[in-house]
């Protein structure tokens, strides 16, 4: 669950205001599209939610962690409650599909026994059966993004944040990926998808939060994104 109250973000180095008085609440189990043009503040918002940066003003709570008053050493604990997927997949090229997914479990100290049970299950969930031994560059873009989703999902996070996950995919693969995220959501994980692909957003009847110039300009359940 995410709660943002009156969040303002001004970058000290440039003095640029990236977000202004943003109020967003995302409840447990919701599927939310965050839309807006380039430079609208979407990336800043994600960075605030993952604890990479701290807001200049306002309050942010992510899965029960107070992002403004939390000690630095608590950040890893908070991050284990979220899974992040990026536009450029960010897979490790010299590791197999299996190891890329298992890596996320190994670095948080999960036992190999549990890894051997969990990784095949997640790979099956994202539709990558039989691809375990492949390396990322042997896979299509859509498949690579599924590996990234599997990795984000493998530690059973409470929320998945996907930052332009379809940015490098063709429309058919994009739709497939969105259906996968919808399926994950139906299994109980909160999903926040950041995108600027209007057609894709409009194909799903989900909640859409639109931001522009650092402000929330609309927040509706109609699943329609009309910003030009």
């Amino acid at each position: 669950m995410v709660q943002m109250n009156d969040v303002t973000m001004v970058y000290e180095s440039s003095g640029a205001t990236a977000l202004q008085d943003v109020d967003i609440t995302i409840n447990e189990g919701e599927f939310v599209f965050l839309v807006g043009p380039s430079g609208s503040g979407k990336t800043t918002l994600i960075k605030l939610l993952t604890g990479e940066i701290q807001p200049s003003e306002g309050e942010i709570t992510v899965n029960g962690f107070d992002m403004c008053r939390m000690k630095r050493r608590k950040v890893p604990k908070m991050r284990r409650t979220i899974g992040v997927v990026f536009q450029d997949f960010r897979l490790i090229d010299n590791m197999t599909v299996y190891d890329n997914v298992a890596f996320a479990m190994r670095v948080v100290g999960t036992s190999e026994k549990l890894i051997r049970e969990r990784v095949p299950y997640v790979l099956n969930l994202v539709g990558l059966d039989g691809r375990e031994k492949r390396r990322p560059q042997e896979l299509s873009g859509g498949e690579q993004q599924r590996v990234a989703i599997a990795r984000a999902l493998v530690n059973s996070p409470r929320m998945i944040i996907a930052d332009e996950p379809t940015g490098n995919l063709d429309p058919v693969r994009s739709l497939e990926l969105m259906l996968l995220l919808e399926k994950i959501n139906e299994l109980g994980t909160t999903v926040l998808v950041v995108t600027h692909e209007k057609e894709l957003v409009n194909a799903f009847s989900k909640r859409v939060v639109a931001i522009d110039s650092g402000r929330v300009i609309s927040d509706g359940m109609d699943g329609y994104y009309s910003y030009e």
Partner: protein, 272 residues
């Protein structure tokens, strides 16, 4: 990359070690000269020889006195005449000389205090001591120590930064991996550990190699010095007597520079 790190640590330790060994030798040389720096306490003229000899335990009891050797008037005259020609000495008898003690000190930096203490011993008329000379010696020794220390500090800092940079280059290719680790919630300690271990191993290897290189270099250079005419005047400190401290310092500095270099190299990647 690892080869570069090891070589650089080794080179820095070698330079550092060589300077230190030069300093150790200078120190030992000065110590040697210091021990030759004696002070002379003259006994009261009206004391008989047996009275004069009785002063020995009192003089030896003075703080900082390493040894005191009694020299009689007769002996003093003989020593004196040995340095000058006979005809210059004509008509001089030993009554001109006094009974005296030739005293060596434990610590020449306390020469002035010891001189005062000796002067207050009943039966001692006068004390001759080259306090200025002693002070000069100490100044030279201090300068050598300070220069060595400054050089060591500079070299440690230099090797630390070079180590940091070499490991940084090595970690550059792994920054994506580190970013992913951060993203999935790995703790900084967990991410740091392999880099610290890597730095530590590289530092350790650099230290061991530098030790053997230093050994070879030192033996070679001192061997050459002893072959020349200088070998007649100076005595070099044998490597065996400094080997243990050199090895320990090299390993210690290698490990510290390596481990902290590793920590420092990935600091920026851990900020996200």
């Amino acid at each position: 990359m690892s080869f570069a790190s090891v070589t650089i640590i080794m080179a820095c330790l070698l330079i550092m070690g060589s300077f230190s060994l030069v300093a150790v030798n200078i120190n030992s040389l000065i110590k040697d000269l210091e021990s030759q720096n004696e002070i002379v306490a003259f006994v009261n003229e009206d004391y008989s020889q047996s009275q004069a000899k009785a002063l020995q335990p009192k003089i030896e009891a003075v703080d900082n006195v390493a040894s005191a050797e009694f020299v009689s008037r007769e002996q003093a005259m003989k020593n004196f005449m040995a340095d000058y020609s006979k005809d210059q000495m004509e008509g001089i008898d030993e009554s001109v000389f006094r009974d005296r003690y030739v005293i060596h000190l434990t610590d020449i930096s306390l020469m002035a205090q010891t001189k005062t203490a000796l002067e207050s011993v009943t039966g001692v008329a006068k004390v001759n001591a080259h306090v200025d000379y002693a002070n000069d010696m100490i100044t030279v020794r201090n300068i050598v120590s300070v220069v060595t220390l400054v050089l060591i500090v500079i070299l440690v800092i230099v090797s630390f930064f070079i180590m940091t940079n070499t490991i940084k280059l090595a970690t550059f290719s792994r920054r994506e991996e580190i970013a992913i680790m951060k993203m999935v919630g790995a703790t900084n300690g967990f991410i740091r550990l392999p880099f610290v271990v890597e730095g530590l191993v590289l530092g350790l290897m650099g230290g061991v190699l530098a030790f053997f290189a230093e050994w070879g270099l030192y033996s070679l250079v001192t061997g050459k010095i002893m072959e020349t005419i200088a070998g007649n005047f100076v005595e070099v400190v044998p490597f065996a007597s400094v080997a243990t401290p050199v090895l320990l310092v090299f390993l210690g500095v290698g490990i510290l520079v390596g481990a902290f270099g590793g920590v420092n190299a990935i600091r920026n990647y851990l900020k996200v």
